[in-house]
Subunit: 453 residues, 2 copies
């Protein structure tokens, strides 16, 4: 049985797919964090280069990928698509399980797909330095690599709990010449305010975003780069889904029954899923889409669909999304990339229109799934990606119970070779299932901005 | 310019190439460690399953790869071949630099190519448990994965200095269910003897081999597995070179000018190089072959071609090879996989016949090359593979000086994502160039076995 579906370098997509062209309704506006009024492109210019802002609001269905971006993507793209034949056999399921594997990129995840594009458009506009936040470090290492390729300085605020849990991801960033600081830090007003209130703060993505945004706003030659959430970021990731469509076709699959991905901000799930969603929106396909999140940070399953700040210190734009409240700080789970209080407005809108389902899992069953996957397929998943593995296994078991030949596709967005401290804790039986944070969320939701739109 | 050359799953070789069929002279015999007399297949049976012993001595040019082995290899093979266009540009060289990348395997190196075959043939003979040694952990994690796939227990003695330097490789082995012990250990007579003489011993591959061999010899249901050195191991690795030949052909290259690989025991270099050597031996091709080793453990550049024990405690068979003496303990360089006192008898014979050149480098220039490679090609090399990178860069610079359009191929045998402690030390300026160990070697060579053949 063929288990690996490989494309040639010529199959790397030359255009991004922009789902905004096909949405059932336009996205709600982006609001200014102080005035809470809709912003125009110029209002975002202190943070982003104009080309990315135009991509953010574009209604064009396809946007060409610039050649210098393609040249770098081809250092590792196309990525392989696998059939998980050994996992299927172990589960005794009639389901067919496919996974797209983004861990073959140099930094081990899907994140470079957008990092390269963002670094290129910033460089093209003469930006000297990019700031960003990172959780587990997948995004920070991707942006560090991309900035290195285009000759831009890179400054990363890394959530402190991850800075401590994943020392090697810092090393990767430093190998690419980036400057890495644990967040909250003393370097910014936002960081100092958090530390004044809680000197032991282990940080969150919301806090680290505040620090990175503050530095970009205060420095003329510096802009800010976000590894997920925004429309243009998800669009840059659609190369994943476009390749997967061709690869599933090689496997004789025209329309998968279900497409699965883990969701923090939503970029790997969006990247795989949006090109398949296109067939649902335009051609009447009936694929189901499942977003998987941690019980410790359940923005789509427990949060509300509302306008909220993108960061904790209320400096980032306000967007309508599924949110747990901008000052909600999730427990320090090992899937650091999923510790974001909100989710991409695109995914939130699709969720609101009932075009996406969402499920949440506790940490231990997620690692159980990762361990089973490792022993059957050989690849140790990143803790984030392990959430998708868990959901794919449960879909396959459900298909078994119902005797259905379901076709399942999920995104194995990264490997866990730099997350092995988490697996050591798992093997030692020291992982916790953090309590479902319902009360903390209810409290944080009392502080949503009052928007009259 | 095309920079990535990808094959399909159908291009994975179905036969191994056995260079013994084409050697200028037969290999010298293998000797019993006690009698120092030539051994027959039965003498090796306590250590290895008969099928591997027969492969070890076979004179057949091609040997079929068993289907269950191929099925597992196809979890990650074929591996990509890249043209290092960005590195070439940075060097300003007219040379074309290609590299075969084995880091896309689940454990991140070429080692699973033989681990899978060895686990399969042991399982087929009913072996319950395999013991082995590992340096940096690339081999141990590969065998752990392979044993997991075929349902065999796996016990790994990991050289203590690497056990401390690379904690995450232990975690990988444990994820695949292996038992890992730092060597020298109190578990074996060999280990206890070393510790009695030097309680602070940081270990060596030679010592760890003694421990693993001892356990295999003392237990009926247990055999021993070696990750390099032996003929059948290098043969299992020839899938690398066979794929590379097809991929270079896609790039319009029929005969590279030089093929380069790092050498500890010699398996990754042999795997890439032997199928190209076939063209030299049979078809009059003129490719040069360069083995690269660390100055700290220079078996081919400083050692002698002589019969010596494969391990420190004199329990492993005696073979004719380039050796530094079986009790030579190299300094604790970060390229733990290259800390072996000898080298594959196959490579030693080819070296003796002047069909292979050898060069040695100090640690710091090797890491300098790795850092340059990281910033141009995006991949952080394993410290072992970085030796090949250094030599490839120097070939390209030599070609530049001479104005030659040289075609260079090297093996990037693994990534360094689990070796980042070494890179942290490098970035902090804390790496040492260990002294060239000439006196220690001269002394160790006084203890070679006295063989009258």
């Amino acid at each position: 049985m063929q288990t690996q579906f490989l494309l040639t370098q010529n199959d790397v997509p030359t255009q991004w797919y922009n789902v905004q062209a096909d949405l059932p309704a336009p996205l709600p506006p982006v609001l200014h964090p102080v005035t809470l009024q809709p912003v125009g492109p110029q209002d975002l210019a202190p943070l982003f280069p104009m080309e990315l802002i135009l991509q953010e609001v574009s209604q064009e269905r396809y946007i060409d990928i610039a050649q210098p971006v393609l040249d770098v993507l081809k250092l590792w793209r196309p990525t392989p698509l696998f059939r998980a034949a050994r996992l299927e056999k172990e589960l005794g399921t009639p389901a067919r399980i496919f996974y797209k594997y983004e861990g073959t990129s140099p930094t081990g995840s899907h994140k470079p797909n957008t990092a390269v594009a963002q670094a290129f458009y910033n460089k093209a506009q003469g930006v000297a330095k990019l700031t960003t936040e990172t959780g587990a470090g997948q995004w920070g290492s991707a942006l560090a690599m991309a900035c290195n390729f285009f000759g831009i300085e890179c400054k990363v605020y890394m959530v402190k709990v991850s800075y401590q849990q994943k020392p090697y991801r810092r090393s990767v960033m430093r190998m690419f010449g980036a400057n890495v600081t644990p967040s909250p830090s003393e370097e910014t007003e936002a960081g100092r305010a958090i530390l004044a209130a809680d000197p032991d703060s282990r940080g969150s993505l919301g806090i680290a975003i505040s620090e990175a945004v503050e530095v970009a706003l205060k420095n003329e030659d510096t802009k800010y780069s976000l590894g997920s959430v925004l429309n243009h970021v998800l669009m840059h990731q659609t190369v994943i889904g476009e390749e997967a469509i061709k690869q599933l076709d090689m496997a004789g699959v025209q329309e998968p029954d279900v497409v699965i991905g883990c969701v923090g901000g939503g970029s790997n799930f969006g990247g795989l899923m949006l090109p398949f969603m296109r067939a649902n929106l335009r051609d009447g396909a009936k694929t189901r889409f499942v977003a998987v999140e941690p019980m410790a940070c359940p923005s789509m399953t427990l949060g509300v669909y509302a306008f909220d700040y993108g960061d904790t210190a209320k400096m980032a734009p306000v967007v309508k999304m599924d949110t747990l409240g901008h000052d909600f700080v999730p427990p320090g789970i090992h899937a650091g990339g999923l510790r974001y209080h909100g989710v991409s407005p695109l995914l939130a809108a699709l969720h609101h229109h009932k075009l996406i389902e969402a499920v949440a899992y506790h940490q231990v069953p997620v690692f159980d799934a990762a361990a089973l996957f490792t022993r059957t397929e050989g690849i140790i998943p990143a803790p984030e990606a392990a959430h998708a593995v868990r959901a794919a296994i449960d879909e396959a078991l459900d298909a078994k119970e119902k005797g259905e030949e379901r076709t399942i596709l999920f995104n194995l967005s990264g490997h866990g070779l730099l997350d092995l401290g988490a697996y050591d804790a798992y093997l030692a039986g020291q992982l916790e299932n953090y309590a479902y944070p319902e009360e903390k969320v209810r409290e944080a939701l009392t502080r949503l901005p009052q928007v009259s739109l």
